[in-house]
Symmetry: C2
Subunit: 143 residues, 2 copies
DNA sequence: TTTACTGCAAACCGTTTGCAGTTCC
DNA sequence: GGAACTGCAAACGGTTTGCAGTAAA
């Protein structure tokens, strides 16, 4: 299975239109976590007539196909879309500007919940989010 | 500083009205992560004329005072309010019904981000979320 | 008495949807 | 040719706000 979103989509029986291609290409790359509006803006650079509805429709399909993941970051009201569904990863977020990086911390497998704190639940996955300040935000706060 | 929200509020110069008291009391207890609508419903049992606007106004103030924290869980569109701001804690979430427990896993302090994955950021806090299925949801899926 | 909280209703934002028209396969 | 996609615009759910009235201190 190819590593790049657009290539994976080609392998599926997925109706390819100029709009959908533009949307998929907007999600190319690493550390990509765009909002729907940002995807629209990027797609419009290639296909100016794309509509926000199509962006939402397409993103919804990609999420359903598990080719894109929704990311909700505390402090931002809108959903972000992450094309990296092929690799387990976590996030590092700047609490100043909302910038998000994909990270692969060590020690995640050693996180343990005591039995009495499992409350009868079977744990399936663990999500780790590091929160900090990027250098740009750190400077603008201590000028 | 008292452990219970309503007692902490008494210590601050915080104008106490029946509505605000009802809202603060709705947030009493452990493992409490209510939505604004749920807070409204609980508050109405005590003060039937409370309005949703007042609930939002009050919750917003409590968050600004750092007496309540906003919690955004993937898969739920609405913000939840967590009165436990006095104790570092993490969350265990049922991906079936959205039930949330406060947890205190071991190993959090051993999570390490390699320098090249810090991208120049100073890390301030780490949030860990365990995702699983509660026993009720597990049963209803394997009937 | 004064300041600030309350409720209503309208506005707001991000997201979803129905539908008529168009396009890909 | 036909199923599936597109754009528009209207609807939606959650949240915020302006304002006139009311109540806490």
């Amino acid at each position: 299975v190819p590593d790049v979103l657009i290539d994976r989509l080609r392998e599926r029986a997925w109706r390819l239109t100029p709009q959908r291609r533009a949307i998929a290409e907007a999600l190319a790359g690493e550390h990509v976590h765009l909002t729907a509006e940002e995807v629209l803006a990027a797609a419009k650079r290639v296909v100016p007539e794309v509509s926000l509805a199509t962006v939402y429709n397409t993103l919804g399909e990609l999420v359903a196909m598990d080719e894109v993941a929704e990311v909700r970051i505390a402090g931002s009201s809108s959903v972000r879309y992450d094309p990296n569904t092929r690799q387990v990863h976590h996030h590092l977020v700047c609490r100043g500007c909302g910038l998000i990086f994909d990270v692969h911390p060590t020690g995640v497998d050693n996180l343990v919940l005591a039995r009495h704190e499992r409350f009868g639940m079977r744990v399936a996955t663990v999500q780790v989010t590091f929160v900090g300040l990027c250098s740009a935000c750190a400077e603008s706060r201590h000028p």
